[in-house]
Amino acid sequence: MMTLLLALSVLLISGCAALVASASPRWATILGVGGVLVSSVLGLVPTLDVLFGAPMLALHASWPVPYGAFFVELDALSAFFLLPTFLLAALAAVYGGEYMLTHAREKWLGPPWFFYNLLVASMVLVLIARNGVLFLMAWEIMALASFFLVTFDHEQANVRDAGWTYLVATHLGAACVMVVFLLLGRQFGSLDFDRFSAPPELASVLFLLAVAGFGSKAGFAPFHVWLPEAHPAAPSHVSALMSGVMIKTGIYGLIRVLTFLGPPPLWWGGVLIGIGLTSGVFGVLFALAQHDLKRLLAYHSVENIGIIALGLGVGLLGVSTNSPSLTVLGFAGGLLHVVNHALFKGLLFLGAGAVMHGAGTGEIDHLGGLFKRMPHAGIAFLIGAVAISGLPPLNGFVSEFLIYLGAFHGVSSLAGTIAVAVLGVIAGLALIGGLAAACFTKAFGIVFLGEPRSDHAAHAHEPGLAMRLPMFLLAASCLLIGLLAPSVVGALIPMLENVTNLSRETIQANLDLATGPLLFVAMTSLGLFGLIAVLAGLRRWLLSRQQVEECVTWDCGYAHPTARMQYTASSFAHPLISLFKMFLHTRSRFSSPQGLFPRDAALSTETEDLSRRYLFQPAFVLIGRSLSSLRWLQQGQIQLYVLYIALTLLVLLVWGLG
């Protein structure tokens, strides 16, 4: 435990030191990045220890805060979430070191590094806190630190907007979480997690509050509105960290609360599956409709959180129907997807950052042909794209495979009406998978392949080593998890023990339902690589004896094809967008060509978030309006306010006596 606390203090000290050294960009960067690196290495030691079976660590110190205690604990579940946190924090920091230097002229780098380190430290504390007050304080620091990182480019109006949306959303979520803790702690008058007990009659209310509260951090639809605003606004390495791990603290919180709530009724699983399906399908559909690379990735986080929710939903369904195979496979898939998403989404955001760094824009339709200009970043992005589309042999396939397998076990074992829920999971995952592949062929194909569509893209350049290395490491880990899937899944056992209350043997036996097949998958995938090598060799041998020429792309005999004739991202996604237009409400502005020799014609489309436009905006307007009718109370005279206070006290006194 001491090592972990040491890591925390290193983070805090280095953050403050970076703040002090603000005047020198070099020192601020060195201190900021160095602190994260050192503390990640320090933190990984106990994390890995616990993950590989060491007993859990705990520290309970009293704290003068009412109901508070400095109670921290490192069990398998915490360690499981800490692992990607430390890994991604370190890699994103190394990347950010180079990425941020481009801003060194116009801005001080001390504050962003201070908030970055603070964000990492608060995430770690959230994951190990075992006292409600401590948890909420860490939760709040996390929200504020990330708010200041999101508003790094605060000169731009849309960034300020994004920050504001994020601040509102995160606090509405925090309010729900606070109520959850208060209700849980009421019975024994203590906010320590080990004294929490859920009153059975309130369990369902608590569940729904936790879904809303933690779900708004995680990005469950329709609470996801802040996500597509905030992630594109933040610097890319921060987006990677926020999307890769910060939103997962919401998943962590939800799972943690579930362990307090006792046996779940059937419909809880149904709720999570419903949320998973809406988040998954809507996330990927909205992603398809986006023209900004980082916004597209942000919507994909909503999609992947949906997949995680589907896994947890299948798991909960398993718990309530007493079916260990569903429980184990569902939770295992959902939780493994947490790590997998951290890896490939981190990778993709870093890749998007490299694109913006190299080409100066993230507008997909202004890019193209980057693969020739930045081959290294391109191949890393390609690996991330294959992984997030859930294609074998990369890691995305492994976690989706587990969830599918759980759902298919449900199809054969569950009674008719309940089986409909898992059928939803199967059809939903299949649709999400197909749409995600569509979206990432678009993202990679339009950005990296073809001819450059603008001068920016034509003059793009490869990022430096400090930016490339983290991307390569993340890409390699995507591949490794895919190929070592059986042992990776085996390592989930201690954590599943924590979550499911099943015995080690049961978990082992049910995980074997997946590890066996995954071994086959891994072996066959190696065969796939072998085949690729053989076929590539054959092709090379065949061509070595023949003439190979280069020519222009065949375009119906056009003599001079230009880059403007290429399919754009909007045109690529158009069939799917128009197919789902009843959900997307894409608005388009079209000026048609006029006259005999038309010169100008333009089409622009914009897809605004549905729940933002039709749910939250009207709701907030309504609340604002009804509250403004209370304006008459606010007269601006101090005497009146004192009167209010006195009256309130009087009422309370009477109420207390009566």
Binding site: L528, L531, L543, V548, T553, M565, Q566, Y567
Partner: protein, 303 residues
């Protein structure tokens, strides 16, 4: 005994182009032509392998990797697809997921290779391909869920060998619905009429052919052979349900399956001769229809 699956594997590798040939021959006969010789696809492949290649200057190595990864993915998918009621060479619970996603890998790289040329035609084909395949996927998985529930197994090998004449008697309606759903998936995935037209080279109206427009030489041979294999494996899936002869005798079962494969090819040819390609706007309705049929079949077996 691994001998039978290996024999079936060799059968697939050898006869897949023949299947394409049978489809073409059927269409020719219906149209009143003699049609090309049955071995023509093999000659085409052989000729393409001997040829040089022309590459667009726009392309990168993704374009060259497309056919290689695609063919490798189909070959790997072939390993888990059983034939004639026998086991496949590789069989494990959930192998159908691996199978479906390997086809996804093939599609992913074909689409990227198409986008790599920067041609608007190929972009158009790629865009249609991802649209239709995303809609075909749920139909395939729901149909497989029906079979999985009825046979209580999660591996293609046991699932398909579990479909017997007895099961047809009991759950005939559900299996008919699933078969129709799978037939639509089969036609879609193999770029057949009514979804796509494998013979036209009119870029505005087609999907698969336009995506491979810029490939030549051995690359085109890989693609052609890969799509023949894809026709074979998806046909084998259909045949596994439609020809439930499970006598236990290798020769009888395989013979019936082969005959059924030829039957599927002929039916495909007849469908292609008797109807026109759908307007692209209506294809999604067809695919959603396939999904609905699979879902209906599930309702029938779940009650």
């Amino acid at each position: 005994m691994p001998l039978v699956p290996v024999l079936h594997l060799l059968l697939a590798l050898g006869c897949a182009p023949l299947l394409v040939s049978i489809v073409r021959r059927t269409k020719a006969l219906v149209a009143g032509r003699t049609g090309q010789p049955l071995l023509q696809p093999y000659r085409d492949l052989w000729k393409l392998l001997q040829k040089g290649a022309v590459y667009s200057r726009t392309t990168t190595w993704v374009f060259r990797a497309g056919p290689v990864v695609g063919l490798a993915a189909v070959l790997t998918a072939l390993l888990v697809m059983p034939f004639g009621g026998a086991r496949a060479l590789v069989a494990f619970p959930g192998d159908f997921l691996f199978f479906a996603y390997l086809l996804g890998l093939l599609r992913f790289f074909t689409v990227l290779a198409a986008l790599d040329t920067g041609s608007s035609f190929e972009g158009m084909g790629a865009s249609r391909e991802v649209t239709f395949s995303a809609l075909a996927e749920p139909a395939l998985f729901l149909g497989l869920a029906v079979i999985a529930r009825q046979t209580d197994s999660l591996s293609l090998s046991t699932m398909l060998s579990g479909v017997t004449a007895e099961m047809w008697r009991q759950y005939g309606p559900a299996l008919v619905l699933v078969s129709i759903g799978f037939m639509i998936v089969f036609l879609t995935e193999n770029a057949r009429i009514p979804v796509d037209d494998p013979t036209t080279h009119l870029e505005l109206t087609m999907i698969h052919e336009v995506m491979v427009l810029d490939h030549s030489g051995p690359d085109l041979a890989y693609i052609t052979y890969g799509s023949a294999l894809k026709l074979w494996i998806l046909g084998a899936l259909l045949v596994g349900i439609l020809a439930p002869v499970r006598s236990g005798s290798l020769w009888l079962d395989s013979g019936v399956a082969c005959a059924a494969m030829i039957g599927v090819a002929i039916v495909t040819g007849l469908i292609e001769s008797s109807m026109a390609r759908l307007r692209l706007l209506y294809v999604p309705q067809l695919l959603v229809g396939a999904g609905v049929l699979s879902a209906l079949a599930l309702m029938l077996v779940l009650r």
